[in-house]
């Protein structure tokens, strides 16, 4: 993993200095309707904070899952932690320079060699507070105003990922979602099997898994040449065997509508099923 966003940086993101700076920035962004001398820097900085907290949440999640409580214990897990972070945040290296910049002098603080057993619910609550304080709508408005949609999209992606982190660690949610989600994210089970285990339709399973942050990275969904050839062959057979107009499968229509609406941030399931 890039040094700038390694576990030490993720741990420092929970320092009081870092937290104070984030709150100051969030307040500045929330007031940005009045006047802001350098809105682009504000947007860049806000994006970097959110991406840092995203990496930090993933890092603490990994520590929690593997009961890692010191840098020595972390050493044999370095590659596993790297995979865990990159599976959820493939563009982590792009964020590295800005993350280092925002941490500033917090990077020179001594890092504890080990840390006591964490109260996990407290860790989750601290990220929940970050989500609550985040002026994401203001960041998106700035992105449009400054013609920086890519930057605003990065901020939104990190924000959604943090929200998903809090959601998937909600003690009220069934443990089965987390287990199935991790296997699905790593490409170990197919979506149909995940849906069966969760007792949901395929459309619902994709929706719920992604809401909880269990999306799949591109390498996990890219078909091999032989898989691609087989898919083309299935399409071909279906086309050549068909002698009548296509028969509409309402479930496939429903899947497409739900997926399209999700791009706009809308959960259309209740509306189209009620009918």
């Amino acid at each position: 993993m890039d040094v700038a966003v390694g576990p030490d940086v993720a741990m420092r993101s929970r320092s009081p200095i870092a937290r104070r700076r984030y709150i100051e920035l969030a307040e500045r962004a929330a007031r940005a309707a009045a006047s802001e001398p350098d809105p682009l820097l504000l947007l860049k900085t806000g994006t970097a904070w959110l991406e840092l907290f995203h990496v930090s949440a993933l890092t603490w999640e990994y520590f929690h899952q593997h009961d890692i409580r010191s840098l020595d214990q972390l050493q044999p897990h370095a590659a596993g932690l790297d995979r865990h972070v990159r599976a959820a945040f493939p563009d982590v290296a792009v964020a590295a320079r800005d993350i280092r910049r925002i941490l500033g002098e917090a990077l020179s603080e001594d890092l504890p060699h080990d840390w006591p057993t964490m109260e996990w619910s407290q860790v989750v609550r601290s990220f929940d507070a970050i989500v609550t304080e985040c002026p994401i709508v203001q960041f998106e408005l700035m992105g449009r105003r400054l013609n920086e949609p890519h930057l605003a999209h990065r901020a939104r992606s990190a924000y959604d990922a943090l929200r998903a982190f809090v959601r998937r660690h909600d003690p009220e949610r069934a443990e089965v979602m987390r287990i199935v989600g991790e296997q699905y994210q790593r490409g170990n089970i197919r979506i149909r099997d995940a849906a069966r285990l969760l007792g949901l339709t395929t459309s619902d399973a994709v929706f719920e898994l992604e809401q909880d942050g269990f999306g799949r990275a591109a390498p996990e969904i890219t078909l091999t040449e032989s898989e691609r050839a087989a898919a083309y062959q299935r399409l071909r057979q279906r086309r050549l065997q068909r002698s009548t107009p296509p028969v509409v499968d309402p479930e496939l229509v429903e899947r497409d509508v739900i997926a399209s609406e999700r791009i706009e941030g809308v959960d259309a399931r209740a509306w189209i099923r009620r009918r």
Partner: protein, 122 residues
């Protein structure tokens, strides 16, 4: 910097509008799966837009154009072309699309038919 004037009024919907959009999208998608929207055309695209936004936005079925609609729209990390360019760009895209579609529709037995069709669709 004043942010109040850049709120995304075009894509901020009430719950009732969201519901209507979902139901209308379901209708358009059903026709798409039934093959009723083929062959694609600029008029067909306009008709789909009209059906989708009917009763939700006044610009249903109309392309942005000079002095009409927002200058730019933002979709995730991407920004649209300027409204003055919409008609020209759509015509260019459809010319290219028709050329591509004709090439594989004319050869339904060709082994690369599915690959070409998917490539054009995406």
């Amino acid at each position: 910097m004043i942010l109040d004037d850049v709120e995304d009024h075009v894509r901020t919907y009430t719950a009732a509008e969201d519901e209507r959009l979902a139901v209308q999208l379901q209708s358009v998608t059903t026709d798409c799966h039934a093959g009723k929207l083929w062959p694609v055309s600029i008029d067909g695209l306009r008709s789909m837009h009209r059906r989708l936004f009917d009763g939700v936005r006044d610009h249903a079925g109309r392309f942005r154009a000079r002095a009409f609609g927002d200058e730019y729209l933002t979709f995730g990390p991407n920004r649209s072309v300027h409204r003055d360019r919409v008609q020209v760009e759509i015509e260019q895209i459809f010319r290219k699309l028709e050329r591509s579609a004709q090439s594989f529709v004319a050869n339904p037995d060709a082994p690369e038919y599915e690959r070409s069709a998917l490539h054009v669709a995406v």
